[in-house]
Subunit: 143 residues, 2 copies
């Protein structure tokens, strides 16, 4: 059922956004497959321990409030036990001390259905880089 | 036939690498779906005209030799008419004037099979950014 599967995947993305808002590390990693290959915002090229709830918790511990995520232009392609999705996500956090981080990024997710449950097996998150010689991340872009 | 489809997708990626090496813009865009959603290395967040052979040709015209691409750790997930793939790609170009650009990037591709042919409907290419306050692209990373 492609429609049911698309609904399940959209629900899983909602659940992840909700877990980040609540800063609940166990919930935030619950939909990640143990063999997840993650291309994250920060180095290295491939994340070392992307499913580690303790690392997620350490990030949350540096924040003064919820992780707010706005998901725009979410597109889901699904067939059988394989799916992928892409969207533009605006992330906004306030760090302890008051510094605000807020920017748009691109998100691509790959999914497999295993034992009837969809899991994230691939994640790619990025900000484009300016090709003006500085190669700085363009964190002021709007969709 | 998942194995045949995986072989077709790997062949399509080989063909794209070959087209870039030959600097053949028409071949390089032939496997892109007209509705491709591309998250490219450079701004904007979503590429304006990712399937435009003329824009690809303009990039080639600034180069003194082939676009060399090494594809590492290519993983393909396929089911029916949906597939996605991810890899680490080392790009190396020599610009007219002699400047060399060479770095590793992360590549994720999404595919749909339409009328029996696989096409790229989503592409996400990035370099991670340093979280040291400079937010510069980390172009010296190795897998």
């Amino acid at each position: 059922m492609a429609n049911e599967d698309e609904a399940a995947i959209r629900g899983l993305i909602d659940e992840r956004v909700s877990a980040l808002r609540e800063r609940d590390a166990a919930r935030a990693v619950a939909m990640l497959a143990p063999d997840l290959v993650a291309f994250e915002l920060a180095p290295p090229l491939v994340a070392d321990r992307p499913t580690d709830a303790a690392a997620t918790q350490a990030w949350f511990d540096g924040l003064a409030g919820p992780v707010e995520t706005e998901v725009r232009d979410l597109t889901v392609h699904v067939c059988g036990d394989v799916a992928f999705a892409h969207s533009l996500n605006r992330l906004r956090v306030v760090r302890k001390g008051g510094a605000v981080g807020a920017f748009w990024m691109r998100s691509t997710l790959g999914f497999r259905k295993r034992d009837g449950e969809w899991k994230i097996v691939h994640a790619h998150t990025s900000v484009p880089m300016r090709m003006d010689g500085t190669f700085t991340a363009a964190m002021d872009l709007e969709p």
